[in-house]
């Protein structure tokens, strides 16, 4: 698994972001450059295209709100992936957790509960978290206790989730709306909807929730015993076991938490944006959240910036399409290229680290291990 260079206690918070920010920033720059090339090859001036992109992302309040709204599920899902990465786990099941969490939140949100509106909302959000966590239980158990790779299992759960939701909103039952033209759930009640932050936009409190949780998890990982255990398991599970940590339990908890965050991503979409459960409402956001977390090098604080960056790309891409005709899916292409560049560069950095390390060792003693003798 990706060995995170910034696992140590001592780096101050900002330093961690900066250190882990250099490589992804460079990769993003390369990706934007490569995309500029593609734009130019299509006969459009890249500057015009990117200007339109920026306009659509930051041009006015509405654009900014749009950016943040699109960033929110990426942020929430990305945090879950980031926490998992620290434990050496890759949660590829965000997509399925989004569906499960969204469904659970909807289930609570469409019922008129005899409680105050605030409590209704809290319960719905909690349900979403639990729904996502529930969706991760099978992969979590299989990974923690049977050592089966969480990657393929969570991937499968994604599709099971997709079709499960499809069934929920189509066939008359708990969640399907009667007499609807398209398969969908009834409207989420006002008391369970996430409040809008800026009137006239669709920017909902999910963003605040995301930022708050990002900070929370960052602090948790760095300053709490739980975080220490998690990083130990991610750094060297055998050593963690030798130190008396229940590695299985830790992995289980981390995957469940990661799943819960995925569930929150879906919750935000349903309770804040769409206000209903739709068939296939995620559309690949789950996978994008993984890319977002990878770009942030697994650092929860970094995920905030990474999510905003990609939210901006998506928000601006529509404007770019309108102005220049370059398809909006270019945004996804940029993201994918960024990740590919990040991992392509990554090796070079590791080699430099190895050289530096070997030099230091030579000053103190000859080390035979690394190079045979």
């Amino acid at each position: 698994m990706n060995r995170n260079e910034t696992n140590s206690l001592w780096l101050p918070g900002l330093g961690a972001i900066v250190l882990s920010g250099a490589r992804p920033l460079f990769a993003i720059a390369l990706a934007l450059l490569a995309s500029a090339g593609m734009i130019w090859a299509s006969g459009v001036n890249p500057f015009t295209a990117y200007a339109a992109l920026a306009q659509g992302a930051f041009g006015n309040i509405a654009s900014l709100a749009n950016t943040c709204v699109r960033a929110t599920p990426l942020l929430l899902g990305g945090i879950g992936v980031a926490v998992g990465l620290k434990a050496g786990l890759l949660n590829v099941g965000v997509e399925g957790q989004i569906y499960a969490g969204g469904a659970a939140a909807t289930a609570v949100g469409i019922i008129a509960l005899p409680v105050s509106p605030w409590l209704h909302l809290v319960l719905a959000v909690l349900a979403g978290f639990l729904g996502g966590g529930l969706w991760a239980t099978i992969p979590a158990y299989l990974r923690a206790y049977r050592g089966i790779s969480e990657i393929v299992v969570t991937l499968m759960m994604n599709y099971i989730g997709l079709y499960f939701i499809s069934w929920l909103v189509e066939f008359p039952g708990i969640l399907a709306e009667e007499g609807a033209v398209f398969p969908q759930s009834p409207l989420v009640l006002k008391s369970a909807q996430l409040p809008i932050l800026i009137r006239g936009t669709s920017l909902h409190t999910g963003l605040i929730l995301g930022v708050g949780l990002a900070v929370f998890f960052f602090l948790l990982l760095r300053f709490s015993p739980f975080g220490f255990r998690t990083r130990m398991v991610g750094g060297n599970p055998e050593a963690a076991q030798y130190a008396g940590i229940s590695v299985k339990r830790q992995i289980l908890i981390v995957i469940l938490v990661a799943g819960g965050m995925g569930g929150l991503a879906g919750t935000g979409e349903v309770l804040g944006l769409k206000l209903r459960l739709f068939d296939a409402f995620s559309g690949g956001v789950g996978y994008e959240a993984i890319a977002v977390a990878l770009l942030a090098n697994g650092n929860p604080l970094g995920v905030i910036f990474s999510a905003l960056f990609f939210g901006a790309l998506k928000a601006g891409a529509n404007k770019m399409q309108i102005v220049t005709g370059i398809e909006a899916s270019m945004a996804i292409v940029v993201l994918a290229l960024a990740v590919l560049f990040v991992i392509a560069i990554g090796f070079g950095e590791r080699k430099l680290g190895a050289i530096r390390k070997a030099k230091e060792r030579n000053q103190t003693e000859r080390e035979a291990q690394a190079y045979g003798d």
Binding site: R3, N4, E5, N7, S8, L9, W10, R222, F223, S224, P225, G227, F228, R229, R231, M232, G235, N236, E238, A239, A240, Q241, Y242, A243, G244, A354, I355, K357, A358, K359, E360, R361, N362, T364, E365, R366, E367, A368, Q369, Y371, G372, D373
Partner: protein, 512 residues
């Protein structure tokens, strides 16, 4: 030994630089037909590197290679094989899922390409095997072969390729002394037929027995080459380490009272493959003594240590430390300090800082955690004190521990384990891979613990250090204790016999 012929191989001025390490510095050696050349040196001396260069795995920065008088450039193992050079590495290069025969033909040209022609190669395999008395069924999947057979298969692979120059890199590491003797017989057979062997080892006695000449390497330099008949352990050792080596026993105060600290009764457990690794083992270690566990690696020592630390489930038996039964992983550092066999795999988290590694087992206790938060300054203080006490060379406690040298990394592990002042210390191969200075430090630390009254269980595959350090020596073979001796008057031959499975009838055995 016997007549050796003209030079078949000459390497001159070989220099190889790795990032940060000069592995070979202007090394030259010469190999003659029909001879066994010993390549002797400590870990890190450069022996494997120069042989890897000969085998085409690395390219030298400087230097030349002449095979049978002709200058050659060996850029890949394929070329080395074509030149008649074969190499048996320290680790097995066998594909477990394939059969012995398939492994033997891997990479070799076939009669009817691209098809594999198993039948004709099988005939050749069996012929060679019979010639060298290597009894392996060619259709056995390699994962089923015992370790000794795997080593024979490795050698057979090279013979298959008509290797005239055979490089053996620490071939006896996984062999019992009797198997090593068999290996020597085969080596002699090979050289009588005109082949030449380069025998890499750090074991003086073996090198003295089998070789005709010895080239000694130290720190990447070739120190010199001498005829084996002129070599003695002390002049060889002096060449290897550059200063006179004393193998005296360290001074120690005598054992006072007999307080049982570790009591193991009837211990049975299995190894990772489910095969019994420990068979009704009984052992007692008293406070203030060092019990050395001798034996060839892989006879249950690892499983014994893991059982004591609670890392491995036992099938039967009891283990008590200071009269407390061991039921699960022991986190209590006042009870047990455990220095694991492989510090990289088990003992340290490479990415964590030095200080984080030092509190690996106690991070969630006071004062390192208060009100649910880790207390960085408490961690730093403790780490600083330990770094001083154990003379660990590191710029500060916050750098990742993987930046430290092997010896200092081991010190981090030791410091952590001893910091809690455990009543029992289990040290498993604590000096493996360390240079002489670090080895001395570790020995001193162990003796110091002994003086403090700690019960020490010291497991090592190096018989020499077991003999110098221990008060009592037990010998393990195939999961059982073959015998127990007082280290003061220990007889090397007796111990050697026990390592092979000869049980010692000792009148005190009931006490063990």
């Amino acid at each position: 030994m016997h007549q050796t012929g003209e030079t078949v191989l000459r390497m001159t001025g070989i220099t190889k630089q790795f990032p940060g390490i000069l592995a070979n510095d202007n090394v030259s050696l010469e190999l003659r037909a029909g001879e066994v050349l010993g390549l002797l040196g400590e870990n890190g001396a450069g022996k494997t590197t120069i042989m890897n260069i000969l085998y085409g795995l690395h390219k030298p920065d400087k230097g030349e290679i002449y095979v049978s008088g002709r200058k050659v450039e060996i850029t890949s193992p394929r070329q080395a094989v074509d030149l008649g050079i074969g190499m048996v590495h320290q680790q097995f290069m066998l594909v477990d899922q394939l059969t012995a025969l398939e492994n033997a033909i891997l990479g070799m040209p076939t009669a009817r390409p691209p098809l594999i022609d198993l039948e004709s190669v099988r005939v050749r395999f069996e012929k060679l095997a019979k010639e060298y008395q290597i009894l392996i069924d060619p259709s056995t999947p390699v994962w089923q072969l015992p370790v000794g057979d795997k080593q024979w298969l490795e050698i057979l692979k090279q013979l298959f390729r008509d290797a005239k120059i055979l490089i053996l890199d620490e071939p006896t590491a996984v062999l019992a002394p009797s198997q090593a003797q068999q290996l020597f017989k085969k080596i002699r057979q090979l050289t009588e037929e005109g082949g030449s062997v380069i025998f890499i080892s750090h074991k003086l006695d073996e090198v003295l027995e089998i070789t005709d000449r010895i080239t000694v390497l130290r720190d990447g330099h070739a120190i010199g080459t001498i005829m084996t008949e002129d070599a003695t352990p002390s002049n060889l050792a002096q060449m290897m380490v550059g200063r006179p080596v004393y193998s005296d026993r360290k001074q120690r105060p005598p054992l006072e009272t007999k307080q049982e600290m570790l009591v193991i009764e009837d211990l049975c457990c299995n190894d990772d493959r489910g095969i019994p690794a420990l068979k009704n083992l009984n052992l007692t270690v008293y406070a203030g003594e060092i019990v050395g566990v001798a034996g060839v690696s892989g006879n249950g020592q690892k499983e014994l240590a893991e059982n004591i630390a609670g890392l491995r489930q036992k099938v039967k038996g009891t283990i008590r430390i200071n009269d407390k039964p061991v039921t699960g992983v022991i986190r209590d550092t006042s009870l047990l300090g455990y220095i694991p066999e492989d510090k990289h795999k088990t003992g340290l988290v490479a990415n964590f800082s030095v200080e984080e590694n030092m509190i690996l087992k106690i991070f969630d206790t006071h004062p390192f955690t208060r009100w649910g938060l880790l207390q960085g300054d408490a961690v730093r203080r403790t780490a600083g004190a330990l770094i001083e006490e154990y003379d660990i060379k590191t710029p500060d406690s916050t750098i990742p521990v993987r930046h430290l040298s092997g010896g200092n990394q081991q010190k981090v592990v030791i410091a952590r384990e001893i910091n809690g002042k455990p009543v029992l210390l289990v040290a498993s191969q604590p000096t493996r891979g360390l240079d002489l200075g670090a080895v001395e430090s570790v020995h001193d630390i162990l003796l110091r613990e002994r003086s403090r009254g700690t019960a020490v269980l010291f497991i090592s595959a190096e018989l020499q250090e077991v003999m110098t350090l221990s008060d009592r020596i037990i010998v393990m073979f195939e999961g059982e204790i073959m015998g127990e001796l007082d280290a003061e008057n220990a007889n090397v031959n007796l111990i050697g016999g026990m390592m092979l499975g000869h049980r010692e009838e000792h009148k005190d055995r009931a006490r063990i």
